[in-house]
């Protein structure tokens, strides 16, 4: 069984606003060098989902990512967790894309890989928060798609998936090959192991440029965008906080209670 997991390298989503700068010219938020690069957390859970299947069935797990100057420490993390191969769509032409161009390039790469039973993605990326790439890949490849999975079981040629819905979950069945997007409810992703780190030292990432996947550079990244950014701005918070004080913390707390009652807030 062959599983392909798509991952995205992003700035740490727990970073605060003071570590970013607005680049008006390129309409982009630029993170300072202090901000760590990480695997998108949802994609890490997609890797975990693949590895859980591998644990049971011995599947081969290929990781696929897209960008330019990708941080090797970041993109190799899935190998350190136990994945088998790493393919990077790495070229200046891949930069600055949207859901459309990204899904299009990933689908072209998956077509080139050729042998696959299951394609896993995170439900969304924590930076752009669009949540479309997995669905796009499925449409480009003509495959079914099951979104926001919290559990995946493979029996023979069928995936049984628990997917998160409002106030609960549903169980669906789909024949392979299929695309499945994974949600945080899947649970904690495993940590890299010393064994896998050692093993992955010998795994060289395969690098593909647009021509390797049959695409012209202008059919990738920024030039292939379908969504344009008219403007980008930092939100202004209107609230001015009234910090309630007192002689002691307890008194401040009591004063807060009184204040909120007076204002009829509580």
């Amino acid at each position: 069984m062959n599983i392909i997991v798509c991952i995205k390298e992003i700035p740490d989503p727990e970073a605060t606003i003071d570590s970013f700068r607005l680049d008006q010219e390129n309409k982009a938020l630029v993170s300072s060098s202090k901000v760590l690069r990480v695997v998108n957390p949802f994609d890490e859970q997609a890797v975990e989902a693949a590895l859980r299947i591998k644990d049971k069935t011995g599947a081969k797990v290929t990781v696929l990512s897209l960008g330019n100057n990708l941080d090797r420490v970041v993109v190799k993390k899935p190998l350190h967790m136990g994945a088998d191969e790493l393919i990077l769509l790495e070229d200046g032409a891949f930069v600055g894309g949207d859901s459309w161009s990204t899904a299009h390039a990933l689908a072209a790469a998956i077509r080139k890989i050729g042998e696959y039973d299951l394609i896993l993605c995170g439900r969304q990326a924590a930076d752009t928060n669009a949540g479309q790439t997995g669905m796009g890949i499925s449409e480009f490849l003509g495959l079914p798609c099951v979104t926001v999975a919290r559990k995946i079981d493979i029996t023979g040629n069928t995936a049984t998936v628990e997917r998160v819905i409002n106030n609960g979950y549903e169980t669906v069945e789909v024949a392979l090959p299929t695309v499945i997007t994974v949600s945080n409810e899947l649970g904690q992703a495993r940590y890299p192991s010393i064994k896998n780190i050692a093993k992955s030292n010998s795994i060289k990432p395969v690098i593909w440029q647009p021509s390797d996947i049959g695409l012209k550079p202008e059919a990738c990244g920024m030039l292939a965008r379908r969504i344009r950014t008219a403007s980008l701005y930092l939100p202004v918070f209107e609230a001015t906080c009234e910090v309630v004080v007192g002689e002691t913390i307890q008194e401040a707390a009591q004063n807060l209670a009184v204040r909120l009652r007076l204002e009829r807030i509580l």
Binding site: A126, G131, P144, S183, A253
Partner: protein, 330 residues
């Protein structure tokens, strides 16, 4: 000149009638339709829902389209996308709005790719660009650290809208307008995905989405013991209890109580944030609360930038005194 006209909403229903997201889209959609000088339509997909769907006419819709087909009796993405792709090509809306709900977030993007149209998701404000009659969509990115205004070409203009980002439409006196049945009996739909089972878990106490008051805890709670204290406050105020991603990841509170980008998005009357620093990931989920009260021992915590009232101090000292005083005041 384009044949693509009118604003269309993908309508959602609950047992009780129109889903709150649909009322929100009705108010947002009406403004767009007025701006364009066009009509507001709602499309409902399902089986035996005509009576409930008709209610949208009383909330400002000019026309309600509704299916009546056993194959569409319950939501399944593969099937619904196939139907919608057909319906949209037939009805040719200029603008098509989905809620960014479990259904809309699954349906909108897939429909877009199927129709060869770009989709924006999770937008919080919409405007018509007069010259092109396309949508300017405002969307929080980087977990709310920045706001992007996005555009695309081609019709229909498709977007999903974040719940609670628009005020719901009010019921008007009149319910003029027509209900148009959509006959889908001739459309072949062969779903590749089969729904075996659907389980909804009834939340204990007040549901987060419905709560007027929410008491929420984060990293500063330090453990599940702290959440027992929050439960007491929640009970006293007849509110619900929520938590940040850190609290959920640590197992201090169940996933279903998570508030934020990856959890539930809430907009209660009062949001009490205890031991929550205010990472954008979390604030995305609660920024539209009418009043935010912050309790945090770190005076420099970003939460105080977005809160209306606050106390600087360890919750272990603050909460008991706060609760006692509230009880005393009756």
């Amino acid at each position: 000149m384009t044949d693509d006209r009118h604003v269309m909403i993908y309508g959602e229903l609950t047992e009780g009638g129109l889903a709150s997201i649909t009322k929100e889209l009705l108010s947002g959609g009406e403004k767009l339709a007025d701006n364009l000088g066009e009509e507001l339509h709602v499309l409902f997909v399902g089986d035996g829902i005509t009576e409930r769907a008709r209610e949208a006419l009383a909330f400002g819709a000019n026309k309600v389209y509704v299916t009546h087909d056993t194959r569409l009796g319950r939501y399944e993405g593969d099937c619904y996308v196939a139907f919608l792709a057909w319906a949209v090509e037939k009805l040719r809306p200029r603008i098509l709005l989905f809620g960014n709900t479990d259904v809309g977030a699954d349906l909108g993007p897939r429909l877009g790719f199927r129709l060869n149209r770009a989709v924006t998701t999770d937008c919080v404000a919409l405007e018509v660009e007069q010259k092109t009659k396309t949508l300017l969509r405002t969307k929080p990115v980087y977990g709310g650290l920045a706001m992007a205004v996005l555009t695309s070409e081609g019709f229909p203009q498709i977007t999903t809208v974040r719940p609670k980002s628009m005020s719901p439409a009010e019921r008007t006196g009149s319910a003029d307008g027509e209900t148009v049945p959509v006959d889908v009996s001739l459309i072949a739909i062969s779903p590749r995905v089969k729904v075996r089972d659907r389980l909804t878990e009834e939340a204990k106490g007040v549901r987060l989405e419905d709560a007027e008051i929410i008491v929420s805890g984060g990293r500063g709670m330090g453990g599940s013991e702290g959440f027992k204290e929050l439960e007491k406050v929640g009970k006293l105020l007849n509110g619900a209890v929520g938590g940040s991603r850190v609290a959920v990841d640590n197992g201090w509170i169940p996933t279903s109580h998570q508030i934020g980008l990856t959890g539930t998005i809430v907009a209660p009357r009062v949001y009490i944030a205890v031991g929550i620093s205010g990472a954008s990931q979390h604030m995305t989920g609660c920024a539209r609360s009418q009043r935010i009260i912050a309790i945090n021992k770190d005076a420099a915590a970003p939460i105080f930038k977005q809160a209306h009232f606050g106390v600087v101090g360890d919750w272990k000292a603050v909460l008991p005194a706060f609760v006692e005083k509230l009880k005393e005041l009756g």
